[in-house]
């Protein structure tokens, strides 16, 4: 890991976080520099704080000048004075075998209460993951909801005529290349167990669908039928892939066993049906269809059947993404020629625009349903952003150089 890791850390600064709008309730928190982190390959406190900030639910409080570790009893009055409600302190120590011992403790400085701590022994390559695990602990203790910082995302970069599929930490850092190709790669999608990514590759001069075991690099050609094969989506049980095939003319939805096999046709229209996504209960498929004359999002039983229209505002609504908790639909809507990320509350049908940008693409929810990652244009380049569901806190993920696109947020990892 050494060489790759050093290159990525030297080229990656921390990402940028934008807070907009008023009326935000954010928990003020301090994360003191971990004792020993200056000698460690990762600035653990910086990673934790960036995770918490990006979630939109925390506001950083300066901790400069403080030397603390997990054993220190903090001077709670002093921390309250600084405006912090909570404090994370810890240490990182290099062991004789080259691994690192990471320890931390979380304090409620308002109630002067110890909220617990943990310790991990990790390789240098896993120091970032340990930091994300600490952020998850803090997030869960203080918000009551599960954190999704120690998850992974996949995305595609294009640099000159080279396309690469990457797997990275949820903050876009620590990228590892899964696939490099001279032809485009689009629509990566994590399997529910987080072991495989399905995607569309143009390596044979046409779009075909592969599944790819990221740990071994083993690939399986799932759909290479006559015509185009695209838009793979995993069923929640991981057994089936819905996708778009043009084998029978037009672009229509089919379901295929995740190990390959004969496709079962799900839609029967003369127009375009594409971009299927399963609801988290597996019972429904949301997808894009132009059956009404313009692309809109529809919903139908996942085995096929009659479809009902879901989006009614605008005449170009594409790229549906469903939150794992089943409450939200994110999609891209064309408004006055600009492509903007929108969020619909499914129970009420109320739609909120989330961005001020004009070339948003391909939203994907964090597994805890609290953040959306999407692609957009930033300073003339394709870039990845995360946003909170109220659109008030956005962060740009640095990831790799070049144009970054097609993000997909992976599931919670097995611990």
């Amino acid at each position: 890991m050494g060489v790759l890791w050093m290159m990525s850390s030297s080229t990656h600064a921390q990402f940028r976080i934008e807070v907009s709008g008023v009326g935000l309730t954010q928990l003020p928190i301090s994360v003191a520099p971990f004792r020993g982190q200056d000698a460690a390959p990762q600035k653990i406190s910086t990673i934790i704080l960036a995770d918490l900030e990006r979630s939109g639910q925390f506001r950083p409080v300066d901790s400069s000048g403080q030397v603390l570790d997990e054993l220190s009893r903090p001077d709670v009055a002093a921390w309250r004075q600084k405006g912090a409600d909570s404090l994370v302190s810890g240490s990182v120590t290099r062991l004789a075998d080259g691994r690192f011992d990471v320890r931390f403790r979380l304090w409620d400085v308002v109630r002067s209460q110890d909220l617990g701590g943990q310790s991990f022994v990790v390789t240098p390559a896993d120091l970032r993951m340990a930091s994300h695990r600490i952020a998850d602990y803090v997030f869960e203790k203080l918000t009551g909801e599960k954190g999704a910082f120690s998850t992974r995302i996949t995305y595609v970069t294009k640099v000159a005529q080279r396309y690469q599929l990457w797997v990275s930490d949820a903050d876009g850092e620590n990228s590892q290349s899964a696939l490099a190709s001279p032809e485009p790669i689009i629509s990566p999608s994590w399997s529910p167990n987080g072991n495989h990514v399905a995607y569309v590759s143009f390596e044979s001069r046409k779009p075909v669908v592969y599944t790819h075991d990221v740990l071994s690099g083993k690939r399986r050609l799932i759909a290479n039928f006559r015509g185009s094969n695209s838009a793979p989506a995993w069923s929640p049980d991981g057994r089936t892939l819905a996708m778009t095939l043009s084998r029978d003319g037009g672009s229509q939805l089919y379901a295929i066993d995740a190990n390959g096999g004969e496709p079962r046709r799900l839609t029967q229209t003369s127009g375009i049906d594409t971009e299927p996504v399963y609801s988290s209960d597996g019972k429904s498929l949301f997808f894009v269809s132009d059956r009404g004359g313009a692309p809109q999002i529809y919903k139908m039983p996942s085995i096929g059947g009659s479809a009902e229209r879901v989006t009614f505002t605008g005449n170009y609504n594409i790229s549906p993404a469903l939150s794992p908790d089943g409450r939200w639909l994110a999609y891209v809507s064309r408004v006055s020629g600009a492509f903007k990320l929108h969020l619909m509350e499914l129970s009420s049908g109320v739609v909120t625009p989330l961005t001020d940008t004009g070339a948003d693409e391909n939203p994907s929810f964090a597994p805890n349903s609290r953040l959306i990652v999407y692609a957009t244009q930033y300073q003339g380049r394709e870039a990845l952003m995360t946003t909170t569901l109220d659109g008030k806190v956005k962060a740009r993920l640095n990831g790799q150089g070049g144009d970054i696109r097609e993000p997909d947020w992976g599931p919670f990892q097995k611990q």
């Binding site: 899964a178 072991n195 690099g217 050609l221 015509g227 043009s246 037009g250 594409t274 693409e361």
Partner: protein, 177 residues
């Protein structure tokens, strides 16, 4: 520099092929990547083990077959999937060429301009490719000699966002394999 190093590391540490390719319906070249391991040992620590990622590198070799000496691109209007009369002669010359040799295989590659979503544009490009396929079919070209596929907005020929560039990208290309 960074990319060079990546390739170097990948080259040094390659460990063998890792691909299970199932062919279906239309044969494709086996482009199985070479699995390479840049990390040496994919170490993991107690409690926070992170799965490793095995990189795969694909090469870009490709051959192109003999094609007729006439234009190979059909351009389309904005939001249109109808072949304009001025491209009928292009279609006719290709139809004659394909009909002259039953062994010829032709792929119609549909493309769109760069605005909008990748997957939806893939479907729109498919409509353009199928329009050309149907036009060839009307001129007696057997279905089994022609495949219509789409590149969506992935392969623009013009990169600008002005109308001229956009219109150059709304096209179907006739490619012989």
């Amino acid at each position: 520099m960074k990319r060079f190093l990546l390739v170097l590391v990948a080259g040094i540490l390659m460990v063998g092929c890792g691909s299970s390719v199932k062919l279906d319906d239309v044969p494709v070249e086996d482009k199985s990547g070479i699995a390479v391991n840049p990390s040496g040992a994919a170490g993991s620590g107690a409690g926070v083990a992170q799965s490793g990622v095995m990189p795969v590198e694909l090469d870009g070799s490709r051959t192109s077959a003999m094609a007729p000496n006439s234009p190979k691109i059909v351009f389309f209007d904005y939001d249109s999937y109808v072949i304009k009369p001025e491209f009928q002669s292009v279609i006719e010359s290709h139809a004659r060429f394909i009909n002259a040799d039953k062994a010829k295989k032709v792929v119609i590659e549909g493309h769109t301009d760069m605005s909008g979503g990748r997957e939806y544009n893939l479907a729109l490009g498919q409509k353009r490719a199928e329009a050309v396929r149907r036009a060839l079919s009307l001129l007696g070209v057997p279905e089994n000699q022609v495949e219509a596929v789409s590149f969506g907005k992935e392969k623009p020929t013009a990169l600008g966002s002005d109308e001229t560039s956009m219109s150059l990208n709304r096209r179907a290309e006739i490619a012989y394999r």
